[in-house]
Amino acid sequence: MSDNANTRVVVGMSGGVDSSVTALLLKQQGYDVVGIFMKNWDDTDEFGVCTATEDYEDVARVCHQLDIPYYSVNFESKYWDKVFQYFLDEYQAGRTPNPDVMCNKEIKFKAFLDHAMGLGADYLATGHYARVRERDGQVEMLRGVDRNKDQTYFLNQISSDILPKIMFPLGELDKQEVRDIAKEHDLATATKKDSTGICFIGERNFKDFLSEYLPAQPGQMQTLSGEVKGEHDGLMYYTIGQRQGLGIGGAGDPWFVVGKNLDDNVLYVGQGFHHDALYSDALLAVDVNWLVDQDLSEPFTCTAKFRYRQQDSGVTVYPNADGTVQVKFDEPERAITPGQAVVFYDDDLCLGGGTIEEAYRHEEPLAHLA
């Protein structure tokens, strides 16, 4: 038997085309592939059927096609404690959480990795668009070659220790190639739509969902100079830089959310996409996780992403003694959003990332960004 046949790879399968092709590619390479479906959320549809059923059925169909065993694992209570609770807490604090980042950190690349190791796995594979590469004895994470689909932004909080155990077979492919492979092999999931949005909310209305868990406190919408422009439904429903759903008409440029005042329950609005209050030139990042052996004794330059679908921006990183970092932007940035991730890169190499705590302009904290 080849080495691959003696190498067990547990594949996290969601019932989507990406993880289906991940399993297919590993199977083609002769690995001992085991498919595992994660059930992280307990919900039922109008007929009382668990909403995860359809995805699990797709996992089963694909695994039958690939002739690999498949199982399910239930992380509902862990997911609730580690991801959903964080999600609610952040919204309650007026911030905009990133549950995908937290899910990767706490569930997929911690609890699920442990589960895979408990099954005697040598590697854990997922369908993320990212790459791992070994260089000089260090395993590094690189962006996926499909820059448009690259998911390293969401992976910035995973521990560098685990990279040697991770496989991202899709990292070398672009999305169209993945779809083509799925079609070529007639995989049951080949034409399935990509899931969008936050997994536990699904197709539902975000406001309705959140209001089931957090009491909404309507309040005033004001300009930064205090002019009342209307009512907001609850600060948690709005994100910095958002245009939709404000319901302010009138002449001039469209209105945008430019800030929040949690103490007074006021939503700040301003006119124009490029409203001055949305711009900052630095941020403080906390919960900083390094994926490389980064020299933190002095400032360094690199590029950074402040949100998922965004070009990199040039920055200088100033490490603080407490592990946090100050990040100064080469050019002012619009709508830096506390709670979201800032992720650092050197070309394709993902250096690490952190959570945006606060934004600054001319060294003054922009408190209105919450």
Partner: protein, 383 residues
């Protein structure tokens, strides 16, 4: 290594005698038993023979056997059929918290339709107490449905004693005897039941066929409407192929029941011995004496059931635990919950082993040897 199948309480392979019988039926006997020509008579003969076999096996009259599509349908027919037929006499039903879902869910449905249902608890032995049945009994109780052997623990329920309590009461007494049929002799008169469910695929017969024994004077509201088959209790052209297979499975069972019983006991004893030999920590869930020999439910501290089951399957050992939800994830067993409460660790670290005629005692040694390293690995991962 050949995989080892230890999930016979879920389903059994089809016995070679049954395969031969069914092959013959497929090749030569296709007639519709309702037809009046020779082909029809040929089909009818299969049905008559099968009914005779089943009736004899239960010590019941020929006319009291209703063939159904399986245990679930028989339970539904018994429960809905009785509840609706006797509604004028009362509104109250007694069952237990450890029944199969094919009993629990019909009872819940009846509750939603306005019936009152008492779900009797069990203690850590996994056995229903006769005095609890007595205490729950009311003048308006119309149905008592209590399983004969629990499918998850193998614990035998005191059916005969319960029937004594019901002697002078109007309530119809039904028992789901699906897990009893393959291991213990059944005499419906001795057991004192009015309705009894049995299934073919748990006794080395084909899937898709079962039966309901119905004492001749018990009335049921029809649950399916159609032709005159099964004296209208179960309309629809009879599944003669499966029924003939069921017939053969019962005959083979009757001829080998004691031998099988001994074999199962030997397997269970050997498994426990081998687990002890390996120094594996475990305990038996439920009563140690009041049980069938082919099902044993073991708790392995410091393990986690999903990871344990997956590991066992990857190692070639097929066992089970509780029931899987539609997304494949294991729901904590309602039976163990009833025995130990919501929070007990045994709910998440217990495995059911159920033995079959093709298992060997040496298999039990292999199983214990395979379990050992898995437990060692799990102890490192499970927190």
């Amino acid at each position: 290594m050949e995989p080892i199948y230890l999930d016979h309480a879920a389903t059994t392979p089809i016995h070679s005698d049954v395969q031969a019988k069914m092959t013959d039926v497929m090749q030569h006997h296709f007639g519709n038993p309702s037809s009046i020509h020779r082909y029809g008579r040929d089909g009818r003969k299969l049905l008559d023979e099968s009914r005779t076999t089943a009736a004899k096996a239960l010590n019941a009259p020929f006319s009291s056997i209703i063939f159904t599509s399986g245990g679930t349908e028989a339970n539904n027919l018994a429960i809905f059929g009785t509840a609706h037929a006797y509604r004028a006499q009362g509104n109250h039903i007694i069952t237990t918290t450890i029944e199969h879902h094919a009993v629990l869910h019909p009872c819940e449905q009846l509750e939603a339709a306005g019936f009152e249902v008492t779900y009797l608890p069990v203690d850590q032995s996994g056995q229903v107490r006769v005095q609890d049945v007595q205490a729950a009994l009311r003048d308006d109780t119309i149905l008592v449905t209590i399983m004969a052997v629990n499918n998850e623990t193998g614990v035998v329920q005191p059916i005969q004693e319960i029937s004594d309590v019901l002697t002078d009461h109007q309530a119809v007494f039904h028992t789901d005897a699906v897990q009893m049929f393959g291991v213990m002799p059944i005499d419906v008169t001795e057991l004192g039941v009015d309705l009894l469910t049995a299934s073919s695929h748990k006794i080395y017969g084909p899937k898709g066929v079962g039966l309901l024994y119905k004492r001749d004077d018990i009335h049921l509201e029809q649950q399916l409407l159609g032709g005159e088959q099964e004296r209208k209790w179960r309309p629809g052209t009879e599944n003669t192929l499966a029924i003939a297979g069921f017939n053969q499975a019962i005959q083979t069972l009757q001829a080998n029941r004691e031998k099988r019983h001994e074999h199962y006991q030997a397997l269970q004893d050997r498994l426990i011995l081998e687990l002890e030999k390996q120094g594996i920590e475990f305990s038996v869930n439920g009563d140690l004496t009041q049980r069938v020999p082919n099902i044993i439910n073991l708790s392995f501290p410091k393990t986690e059931v999903e990871m344990f089951l997956t590991n066992l399957d990857l190692a070639g050992i097929a066992v089970s635990s509780g029931s899987a939800c539609t997304a494949g994830s294991i729901d904590p067993s309602h039976v163990l919950k009833a025995m130990y409460g919501e929070k007990d660790a045994r709910l998440t670290n217990s495995i059911r082993f159920s033995f079959g005629i093709d298992n060997t005692e040496d298999d039990m040694q292999i199983v214990a040897e395979k379990i050992k390293p898995i437990i060692e690995r799990l102890e490192k991962v499970v927190t």
